[in-house]
Amino acid sequence: MKSPPRRARAPRRRAELPPQWDLRLYVAGQTARSAIALQNLKRICETHLKGKYRIEVVDVMKNPRLAQGDQILALPTLVRKLPEPMKKIIGDLSNEERVLIGLDLREARSRR
């Protein structure tokens, strides 16, 4: 079983500003659903948060204690650590509309 990449960062902004969006994706093992969720997340971030985000993938199978810390129950769960307040989005992120609402990105985009 291949472990998913622990961190996938937006490569170009790496040395510059700290990312305003700190996202953590909790998954359980390398399942199809995990892969879909990560894929969806990357796509949404590239579309809406290009250069401003950082994604951390946590496999709770390997780090069960982390699941406790962030109160993870459903999998996959996306946790928006930054900006605050913390937000939780569950599911494989295939409903983009709801992901954007969950991340408060609808508002952010309309403000621009």
């Binding site: 909790y26 969720a37 709770v60 406790q68 129950l73 999998l75 989005i89 494989d92």
Partner: protein, 586 residues
């Protein structure tokens, strides 16, 4: 339950396949007796009830007792309270959760589900819950798991279909690991739980209830189902106190107590006499019932004092009087309880019945009995307990109390107040069938007096008097006196005294007559004897006289014969008349 035990004993050896369900002792007082050993091992048990019914405490005690007393560590998955809150809540029961956690006997995981923070964006499962549970179970090597209250997931997670599927998987998962699980659930409308958890937990369902009847709160427990086990189906009162959960009955449900043949004096010699000459059986239950002011408490105090005087310990539950009041009142009829109180042989526990619910009373009594270890127990009066619960509740509580005391071999004395208008030989509590010796005190009103009478209605296992006796409270104590049956019924008090006087007069009359007649006999005898003596003397005198006459005649005749002979000798030839005629003048 004894029936299960019996069947276990009967079939256990020969047919292993019929061995009863393996059980995990819950450690909750009373529950293991009720279920014949505890909760089904390796299976989930649903504990449901309304808010504040004690579900969480039940679950927590199950875990803590399991860890401390049965060597089975546990995981507590809390969905409603944080670990800190839980620890604070059960600290009052003496459960030290932080220490247990530190010693790796217990693992508490608080699962917070906040609907407002969660956005659903596609397919998911609850693997996170499984992972956390698995982690916690492995960390402490748990054998027991509590899910409290897993239903809150329904309000926290948007998709009930997924949740239901996952719950099914969860229970399968728990069973596969052989974990003994307690799942709590909130009572729903017309259903055991709001989300139908009973659908997943089919082995054992326990329902807890907390209700207030006539301002008195009672907690109750009912085993709704328990697969493969005979179980009590009644509602059993339980309570939560500083020692945790206790479910009553506290003692066995079977009639297995010993029946001692030793006797215990009632403190009233005459009553002992009426009870086969020796008094009550030790370890039996005695009921004295009667209307107000018939002397029930006095009889109780007499028994207590008499037992103490024999060096036995006596525990007195007083529901009407304080210790001081009792001692003072009893002194007025010559019973001094003070020395026994001072020596610690007598302990009076005085409390208002309404101060707490029935089951709390029962547990309080249980605790007192266990601590004091009395030989004699008095409950005065049991009727006041009805004020607390309903008749049926009070009856069931008393049954259990009696049962408990009997198993302990404690002679118990209950007093029962009969309300006016109710047939005397009927206890309101309907407990007479549980009683071994039943005395009825009644009041007879006649001739402007109220007098007390005592009757033994029954006394199992001994020949007892059928007499109605008068029961008097005097400064010297209780006195029992014979009664008389008059034309208008039993005579007591002054009427009895009058009757006694009347009897006395009749008796005296007979005695006088007897004496007179005896005198007359003597007199007559004497007179006759005197007469006889007189006659005998007269006869003797007559006889002497007659004998003298006889002798004279006989002598004369003799003389004549002699003379004739002499004449004949002198005349020789003369014979006959001549010789006789001449012979007269020699």
């Amino acid at each position: 339950m004894p029936r299960t035990d019996l069947s276990k004993r009967a079939t256990g050896r020969r047919t292993r396949s019929l061995a009863p369900l393996p059980k995990a002792p819950s450690g909750i007082r009373g529950l293991d007796e009720l279920t014949g050993g505890g909760l089904p091992r390796g299976r989930p048990t649903l504990v449901c009830g309304g808010p504040g019914c004690g579900k969480t405490l039940f679950a927590m005690e199950f875990l803590v007792r399991g860890a401390l007393e049965h060597g089975e560590n546990g995981v507590f998955m809390a969905f409603e309270e944080t670990a800190e809150e839980l620890a604070a809540n059960v600290a009052s029961l003496g459960f030290d959760l932080p220490t247990l956690e530190a010693r790796k006997k217990l693992s508490i995981d608080y699962v917070r589900v906040e609907r407002s923070e969660i956005e659903e964006t596609g397919e998911y499962d609850l693997e996170g819950l499984f992972v956390r549970l698995d982690y916690a179970v492995k960390r402490v090597g748990a054998k027991r798991v509590v899910l409290d209250t897993i239903e809150s997931l329904f309000s926290g997670l948007p998709n009930p279909a997924i949740l239901r599927a996952e719950l099914r998987r969860l229970f399968r998962w728990l069973k596969d690991r052989g974990l003994t699980v307690v799942v709590t659930g909130e009572k729903g409308e017309g259903a055991l739980t709001r989300q139908g958890l009973e659908e997943y937990v089919s082995d054992c369902v326990i329902f807890l209830d907390h209700r207030v009847v006539e301002q008195v709160s009672t907690r109750r427990l009912r085993i709704v189902k328990y697969r493969g086990t005979l179980h009590g189906t009644n509602e059993y009162p339980f309570l939560i106190d500083e020692d945790g959960f206790s479910i009553l009955p506290l003692s066995s449900l079977g009639l297995t107590h010993q029946a001692p043949t030793r006797r215990l004096s009632s403190g009233i010699p005459r009553l002992d006499e009426m009870l086969g000459g020796k008094g009550y059986y030790e370890g039996s239950s005695v009921l004295v019932s009667g209307t107000a002011g018939t002397g029930k408490t006095s009889m109780a105090a007499l028994l207590a004092a008499s037992a103490c005087a024999r060096g036995k310990r006596c525990l007195y539950f007083a529901f009407e009087e304080s210790v001081d009041q009792l001692a003072r009142n009893m002194r007025s009829i010559g019973i001094d309880l003070r020395p026994w109180l001072d020596q610690g042989l007598l302990r009076v526990v005085a409390s208002r019945p309404t101060i707490q619910g029935l089951e709390r009373h029962l547990v309080a009594m249980h605790r007192e009995v266990t601590a004091f270890r009395p030989a004699v127990g008095v409950v005065d009066p049991i009727t006041n307990l009805i004020d607390v619960g309903t008749n049926a509740e009070a009856q069931s509580m008393l049954t259990r109390l009696m049962d408990f005391l009997k198993v302990q071999g404690i002679t118990t004395f209950f007093t029962s107040l009969t309300q006016g208008g109710v047939a005397l030989e009927q206890t309101e509590m309907g407990i007479s069938s549980l009683i071994d010796t039943w005395l009825v005190l009644a009041v007879v009103r006649s001739g402007g007096e109220r007098n007390r009478t005592l009757t033994i209605v029954k006394s199992r296992g001994m020949a007892h008097s059928n007499q109605v006796v008068e029961f008097g409270l005097t400064r010297r104590g209780v006195e029992l006196m014979d009664t008389y049956l008059g034309p208008s019924g039993v005579l007591t008090g002054s009427a009895r005294l009058a009757k006694e006087a009347e009897d006395q007069a009749v008796m005296e009359g007979y005695e006088d007559d007897l004496a007179l007649r005896r005198q007359e006999r003597t007199r007559r005898e004497k007179r006759a004897v005197a007469q006889l003596t007189g006659m005998k003397e007269e006869l003797a005198a007559d006889l002497v006289e007659i004998d003298r006459g006889i002798n004279d005649v006989a002598r004369q005749r003799e003389r004549l014969v002699e003379e004739r002979k002499a004449m004949a000798r002198s005349r020789q030839a003369f014979s006959g008349t001549r010789a006789r005629g001449q012979g007269d003048q020699p």
